[in-house]
Amino acid sequence: MSKRLLSRLANSPQLPVIVLAVAFFCWNALTLRGFFTPASLREFLNLMVPLGCLTIGSSMVLVTGGLDLSVGAVVCLVNVTVITLMGKNYGFSLAAAIGVGMLAALGIGLLNGLVVGYLRINALLATFATQSVAAGAALWIMPRPGGRGSTAMVKWFKSGWLAGVIPTSALFLLIPLVIWYLIRATPFGVWLYAVGQDEQKAFLSGIRTRGVKLMAYVFSALMAGLGSIALLGNIGGGDPNVGMSLTLSAMASTVIGGVSLAGGEGDALGALIGAVFFNLIIYTVFGANLSVFYQDLATGLIILLGIVGMTLYKQHNVRKRRDFTG
């Protein structure tokens, strides 16, 4: 049993990211004082959840061969929508405000899906534009940071436990993962990979490719919405720019996690491990006592290492497979 698991791991496309994540985790545990303590690990988990949600969402779009640049702006839009509705002008309950916020995310997702899937506009340009739309709407709703969410929710998110064993913040990763793998187990899950491999061939095989793409963008936007709720659990306040930097971090994590930018390859778990790696190196660089001027440089170099390593590993695998068939 464990032998089979090992050989599956050795052949898994996610091997490099797993190795990287484990290595940096051990490094942090050994070198950062107080990292390997329950409280600190819980904090690590809480902080990485928003990016984790986004990578799981992005991975589905990337599998179909697409690209979603709007996720960070969706985080902003949902954040300001929820905070504004909970403010004294509207007085929504937390649940109702979250509901409306998720509807806003759904709207952006549908817009992306229609423009990319049905109008066949290039995903890079289309989602760049919808990113502006969502970010603009967020600024319009809340021009400057402010407002307060529910302190009870922050407390629940940051230190709550489910059944005494599951940290509440982990719920925000478990639910998306379960949805992802449920989708993967339907024919739709197979079609995602078919469309990502070759849209024309998928269409000729009788797959409704436009619908498949629409669904992927809707999923991505909803996961960004969920990520925004998790972020709210961390910061508890409103900020129209809060998520903008997450977009490309999510994309880099997804690619490091073994999802191909060309489509048709990778899955949500790998992407999530990519996000774990991404957050681990932030700790590593932070803990290395580097001057603040070099932190971005160091982070950037490690990310580059991850992406290059992943790509080289894949090329090596492709060559191995080709040699096998002759």
């Binding site: 339907t186 078919a194 491999q197 061939k201 040699d323 002759g326």
Partner: protein, 497 residues
């Protein structure tokens, strides 16, 4: 019982008339050959029936009812299944997923993996592919993929089946399996359209034939009693017996037996044993063998596509680490995979012709249009993008590209795959012309009859037969025949694996 009738199908792409008022009908259980040169409209006809291209005019009538085929899904709902020359398989999915891709069986909401497997096995067993059921399609050999494309059509229980060029990459034993299935479908009343360039297959499998030329229907007739020469004449619009005679009267100009290239102990990718080969100046070497025995690995290795390679050239040692160096030493390489390795699809014919001379060798080629005309490329203008040409004409442009480099060694990896008979003959005569001027030609083909055509009419030639990455037999002169090649392809005591 299903019947198919096409009435006045017309389709144009821009200024190119792909189909012009084509009408014919097929009875239930009939197997009809669709025959014609490159660009004659065969594939357009298949695409219209499959719903991926819409006719400008005309009607399709299935079982007496006029139908509207507006998408691949609509075609499938009508029971019209089209196998595609370009293959509709997705390399990242498993064989069994590919087979039932558009209607994967479900249990409640979820994919029913067990039923997928069971249903796939029923079909895969017929083609001896059952051990691949759960492998990704990308790991299958090309001929297995073509069989799979056919199996994918079969599993959808076609009422009208269009087989577009499926056999062009298949070997004899595979074709026999395909034929058995076609006969079975025929007994079940399925109408079938069989598109192929291989005449012997048409005679073997079909009972009637519809001939197209430049998008127009030339003739529909029962196949029995029609001679091969008549078919070829109808396709080309000229009397072929003369063309063939001319090409058989080759000048006997024996180049001195000067060895140009010596390759020693070259290990081909995927094989443990190594191969040695001497190539003489002005020699044509045909490479035969069962699919996947290192034929294309040989020419690809010589072009340094599989990593650095050492050899002896004109008595001096020569090391090539990449194709660019190979080109600078006068090597040329034409691949059968035009789309990926041959053409720059949205660039013009001129740019495609000059790609190597102008961009790699850095000498301005002023005779591009001239060479396009010399190769009789059917074009409106030399500035049209190459993808607007039919497959055969595209390949002629690629040949023109490489011959204008004045190569010393011409490597061809199944360059005539999916090209019609007349264009094939032209390609062969270009090869002869090159060899006569002193170029050595190494020519791989999956069709042994093509190798016979190529080498029998040129005196300084031989056919080498490969098996498991080694050269196991060399045929020369009168020994070169399709039967002899077939006989030697499988070594004695060896088995087909």
């Amino acid at each position: 019982m299903s019947t198919l009738e096409c009435q006045g199908l017309t389709k144009s792409f821009g200024a190119v008339q792909a189909l012009q008022n084509v009408s014919f009908s097929i009875a239930a259980g009939e197997v009809r050959a669709i025959f014609g040169g490159n660009g004659s409209g065969k594939s357009t006809l298949a695409k219209i029936l499959g719903g991926s291209v819409f006719a400008d005019q005309g009607r399709i009538i299935c079982a007496g009812q006029p139908v509207n085929v507006t998408s691949p899904v609509a075609a499938k709902n009508l029971g019209i299944i089209v196998t595609s020359q370009e293959l509709s398989l997705l390399g990242n999915l498993t064989v069994e997923e590919n087979l039932q891709l558009c209607d994967l069986p479900r249990r409640v909401l979820f994919t029913d993996r067990q039923r997928i497997h069971q249903e796939a096995m029923l079909v895969l067993e017929r083609f001896h592919l059952e051990k691949f059921a759960r492998s990704p399609v990308a790991s299958l050999a090309p001929n297995q993929q073509y069989l799979l494309e056919f199996a994918k059509a079969l599993i959808q229980k076609p009422k009208i089946l269009v087989i577009d060029e499926i056999t062009s990459a298949l070997y004899r034993e595979d074709v026999a399996q395909v034929k058995a299935v076609i006969n079975e479908l025929k007994a079940g009343g399925c109408c079938q359209l069989f598109i192929s360039h291989r005449l012997n297959e048409l005679y073997d499998i079909c009972e009637s034939i519809t001939i197209l030329r430049n998008g127009e229907l030339v003739e529909t007739a029962p196949l029995a009693g029609i001679s091969e020469d008549h078919l070829l004449s109808q396709v080309s619009g000229q009397d072929v017996t003369k063309v063939i005679l001319r090409s058989r009267q080759t000048t006997r100009l024996d180049n001195s037996d000067k060895t140009f290239l010596k390759v020693r102990d070259l290990a081909l990718p995927g094989f443990t044993d190594s191969v040695s080969l001497d190539i003489a100046q002005g020699e044509i070497i045909g490479v035969a063998g069962l699919q996947g025995n290192g034929q294309s690995g040989l020419v690809r290795s010589l072009f340094a596509l599989e990593g650095p390679i050492g050899m002896e050239c004109d008595g001096a040692s020569l090391k090539l680490s990449n194709p660019s160096q190979a080109v600078h030493h006068g090597f040329a390489f034409v691949s059968g995979d035009r789309e990926r390795e041959g053409t720059f699809s949205i660039r013009s014919l001129l740019e495609n012709t000059g790609a190597v001379t102008d961009l790699v060798l850095g000498k301005k080629n002023r005779h591009k249009e001239e060479s396009l005309r010399q190769y009789r490329v059917a074009m409106r203008s030399a500035r049209q993008p190459i993808r607007t040409l039919s497959g055969g004409n595209q390949q002629k442009v690629v040949l023109a590209r490489w011959t204008t480099t004045d190569p010393r060694l011409f490597l061809a990896d199944d360059p005539t795959k999916g090209i019609d008979v007349t264009a094939r003959r032209e390609v062969h005569s270009f090869m002869h012309e090159l060899a006569r001027r002193g170029t050595s030609v190494v020519f791989v083909s999956s069709d042994s009859e093509e190798l016979v055509d190529l080498t029998r009419t040129y005196s300084n030639s031989r056919v080498i037969i490969m098996y498991k990455g080694q050269i196991i037999q060399t045929l020369k002169g009168a020994a070169i025949s399709a039967e002899n090649i077939a006989y030697h392809e499988v070594p004695k005591g060896g088995s087909l694996t």
